[in-house]
């Protein structure tokens, strides 16, 4: 149970405070409601490049990182398709430093052209490190483009190509900042060894005078129903043949989301899971398999990947996956459901021990609609039935809603 209080400043900035006197640390998390899905298709990767730029000096403070380090703190940030999330963790006695730093970069940035040029290079190296110079590194580009034809989930957060990052202009950076990085488009969480009264005082002092801006709607095209099987065959310099299958699934707020997550667990969490036991251990089709969700807010994809053993044909491997996953539509025992419920109960309890996780979760659930849902998520999982699992599995594992990427090694 994560208890919290909610404050809203006159400029519209919402602040959630979670007091935990057992820790001498404080976590400050600010989620901006903008991600790669809000980008223009000709300027992809921008939200992420912008995240880098947020550390390049704000209007009154040249060096964010150093100031936080002086206060004994550390920080990081990530950009997803849906959001950009920044966090700081520091001794609670120095909480005000985080307010000073975060408020200044919400107020305005330094917009230094040299910094932008350097960060473009850094992001291009990040792009190369993770997406080009890695076997299977291009899979997210290929799979997203195959699965999404209309919705901006068709490109990964790093961007479609290096040139989109290289061509970013300061003018775009400025517009992006004043559009999305305003109090009304953000949610802030302060957690740990803090007092709500103190947080309120600091919030008014540091964030109170920032112009409110607007909550920016996400008017995104809905991805049309996929009605045909999509397959992309690649011959690349990869070490092993591999297959990646992406099935369309529901959005994050849908009532079937928890059941879908359970299906993922049943298929690939732990040595007792279906894909691992049947296809790695028993039939020895793959040397490794995994299933995961894209975890997006809008309609997502359910991904299954496997690395093929030598002498196994791609067709047999594909058929074996399909055979294994479609069995979920008519055979799920109460025991298996209880297993994934127990696992989820343990997982959620353990992840609750970390104040930074709690802070990030509060911000994320607030963005989804209601921060208090963070405490009832577990109930949604516990209410899932075997009937629902079977229905959802049947719905998801339909070949006409599947996109497959097959890697053959050269």
């Amino acid at each position: 149970m994560i208890h919290f209080e909610e404050l809203v400043l006159p400029n519209g900035l919402k602040i959630l405070v979670h007091e935990d006197p057992s820790t001498p640390l404080a976590a400050v998390n600010i989620l901006y409601k903008v991600g790669a899905r809000d980008e223009d298709s000709s300027r992809t990767g921008f939200a992420h490049l912008f995240e880098h730029f947020m550390f390049e000096g704000s209007v009154n403070i040249p060096d964010f990182d150093t100031e936080l380090q002086i206060a004994g703190g550390d920080n990081n940030a990530f950009t997803s398709n849906d959001v950009t999330n920044y966090y700081d963790i520091l001794p609670a006695t120095n909480l005000e430093t985080a307010f000073w730093l975060e408020s200044d970069r919400m107020l305005s940035l330094d917009f230094n052209i040299d910094s932008l040029e350097t960060q473009k290079k850094v992001v291009c190296e990040e792009f190369k490190e993770h997406y080009i110079n890695q076997p299977y590194g291009d899979v997210w580009h290929k799979l997203s483009a195959l699965a999404y034809k209309v919705h901006p989930y068709q490109w990964p957060t790093i961007g479609l190509e290096l040139s989109h990052v290289e061509n970013a202009k300061m003018e775009d950076v400025r517009d992006f900042f004043y559009k999305y990085y305003r109090p009304r488009n953000a949610v802030m969480v302060v957690a740990g060894g803090v007092k709500t009264k103190e947080v309120e005082k600091l919030a008014l002092k540091w964030f109170g005078d920032i112009p409110s801006g607007e909550l920016i709607p996400h008017d995104l095209p809905k991805e049309p129903e996929q009605t045909e099987e999509r397959v992309l065959v690649l011959h690349e310099d990869v070490p092993l043949n591999a297959i990646y299958k992406a099935y369309k699934m529901c959005d994050r707020r849908h009532d079937d989301y928890q059941a879908t997550d359970f299906i993922r667990d049943m298929l690939s969490t732990g040595d007792s899971s279906r894909l691992y036991h049947e296809l790695v251990k028993d039939k020895k089709i793959f040397s490794s398999v995994a299933a995961y969700l894209s975890e997006t807010i809008d309609d997502g994809i359910f991904i299954i990947e496997g690395k093929l053993n030598p002498d196994v044909s791609m067709d047999d491997a594909d058929a074996a996956i399909i055979n294994c996953i479609t069995k979920l539509s008519d055979d799920v025992s109460e025991d298996e459901l209880q297993k994934v419920k127990n696992k989820t109960e343990a997982f959620l309890t353990f992840s609750d021990t970390n104040i930074l996780n709690r802070a990030m979760n509060l911000a994320y659930y607030d963005m989804l609609g209601n921060a208090a849902d963070v405490n009832t998520e577990i109930d949604k999982y516990m209410a899932v039935t075997t009937t629902q699992i079977k229905r959802v599995a049947k719905n998801i594992f339909n070949k006409n809603r599947c996109s497959t990427v097959k890697y053959f090694k050269k």
Binding site: G72, E125, S272, A346, T349, D352
Partner: protein, 423 residues
């Protein structure tokens, strides 16, 4: 309000630590207990001195640790996994140079179902032949995958150059190694090293007497006592004289760069201070290497140096993935930063930043029972107790600019360092 003015900082002079209680089970296994937390969860570490240092052949320590859960007397791999996973418990295993261990995360209420099964894994593992062959195949496949990555190759070349193939720290896996192991050897290693006399336990979470009693009733029997790992096994490093090593990968758009050398470990009185030197140099986001090579030059997404301590030596290493065309320039800049560390005194502002940063990092590392138990495990390995944490904090707070320069001269020697590139 003046936004250019930083709020006043309070420095932390001492860190409040959770209490650690030590008891012994009936058979003498030491148990370290950290009783704290609100949630009904427990993490238990079982640490055996069964790491790579003791394996007569490459891969044995790792394979034994993995195979122990692949079958016990009367239970198949699937049945074992079913039990752990039905109760939502997560069993992790790991092998380092010295130790091999199991870490179980569980809701307290399910422990009675989990602990007896762990005991079976420790004492009655059966090493089924078919499971062994499956694991062998999957590990070979994994090895094939890794060999396609530049950073993996760079790390292999770096370690084997520094220590030589005969030394556990420098031994790298070859495909032939997979052909040279069999279940007979696994069983021998298992029976020599996995026993109550060669083990300690750490337990953290919200605990009560019943949990501690159950530890004794399940793991406290004298029947599984055995010998401690022998402490007379020694290896001598055979460093390669060639310090510059390059592997060409013509299709790569980046190069993996590794630079460094063997150095002191935590038993050496300079080590803690050297860890502060390393932080300044390349050990945190604001380090000299990051500021120059990422933030100023944009050559890389990240460059770090790290200082690792093992029981028989240490390693100082700098690593980065950099644009292929700037790999030589990166090595030059590392050299320049080393010269600056050796020749110039760090200014007060930078030194204070590092001191405060390290203080905060130390606080974070011991925050809560789960994290603290990981740190405490590291202390046990070097014969230390919780006092060490605040002694280390004192070292951080009192180190001087002169000492940092002296230690840089002593330990950061570019001419002695290996420079390995792949790309």
């Amino acid at each position: 309000m003046n936004r250019t003015q930083a709020p006043k900082i309070k420095t932390v002079d001492a860190i409040d630590l959770l209490a650690v209680e030590q008891i012994k089970l009936d058979n003498g296994i030491p148990v370290y207990i950290i009783n704290s937390g609100e949630q009904e969860i427990v993490k238990i570490d079982f640490v055996f001195e069964a790491g790579k240092w003791y394996e007569p052949k490459n891969l044995l320590a790792d394979f034994v640790n993995r195979m122990m859960r692949e079958g016990v007397k009367g239970k198949s791999a699937k049945e074992i996994a079913d039990i752990f996973e039905f109760y939502g418990s997560n069993l992790e295993s790991s092998v380092s140079f010295t130790n091999a261990g199991f870490q179980i995360y569980s809701l307290s209420k399910h422990l009675p179902h989990i602990l007896p099964l762990l005991m079976e894994i420790f004492t009655e593992a059966s090493f089924p032949e078919d499971e062994f062959l499956t694991m062998l195949n999957n590990r070979k496949q994994k090895h094939t995958e890794r060999l396609a990555k530049n950073d993996y190759i760079a790390n292999r070349n770096f370690l084997s150059a520094m220590w030589g193939q005969e030394h556990p720290y420098g031994r790298v896996t070859e495909f032939q190694d997979f052909e040279n192991v069999n279940t007979g050897q696994l069983k021998d290693f298992y029976s020599s090293y996995y026993n109550a006399g060669n083990c300690f336990i750490l337990i953290a979470g919200k605990l009560d007497d019943a949990i501690i009693k159950s530890l004794n009733s399940v793991f406290g029997a004298k029947a599984w006592l055995g010998a401690k790992a022998p402490h007379d096994i020694n290896y001598h490093p055979h460093p390669n004289a060639e310090l510059r090593q390059h592997t060409e990968k013509k299709d790569s758009v980046q190069s993996s760069v590794m630079i460094g050398n063997a150095t002191i470990n935590k038993y050496h009185p300079d080590f803690d201070k050297l860890s502060v030197v390393n932080t300044v140099f390349g050990g945190y986001f604001g380090s000299r290497l990051m500021a120059n090579i990422r933030e100023e030059k944009g050559y890389t997404y990240g460059i770090f140096s790290s200082l690792s301590s093992y029981q028989h030596g240490g390693i100082l290493e700098i690593s980065a993935e950099v644009g292929k065309e700037v790999s030589e320039a990166t090595i030059n800049e590392v050299h320049n930063e080393i010269k600056a560390m050796r020749n110039e005194l760090i200014d007060e502002e930078e030194l204070d930043t590092v001191k405060n940063y390290l203080t905060g990092r130390l606080m974070r590392s011991v925050d809560g029972p789960m994290k603290y138990s990981d740190v405490y495990k590291g202390l046990i390995l070097y014969g230390r107790d919780s006092d060490y944490i605040n002694e280390y904090l004192h070292t951080i707070h009192t180190i001087t600019a002169e000492e940092i320069r002296e230690l840089s001269v002593k330990y950061l020697d570019f001419d002695r360092m290996y420079k390995v590139t792949v790309g």
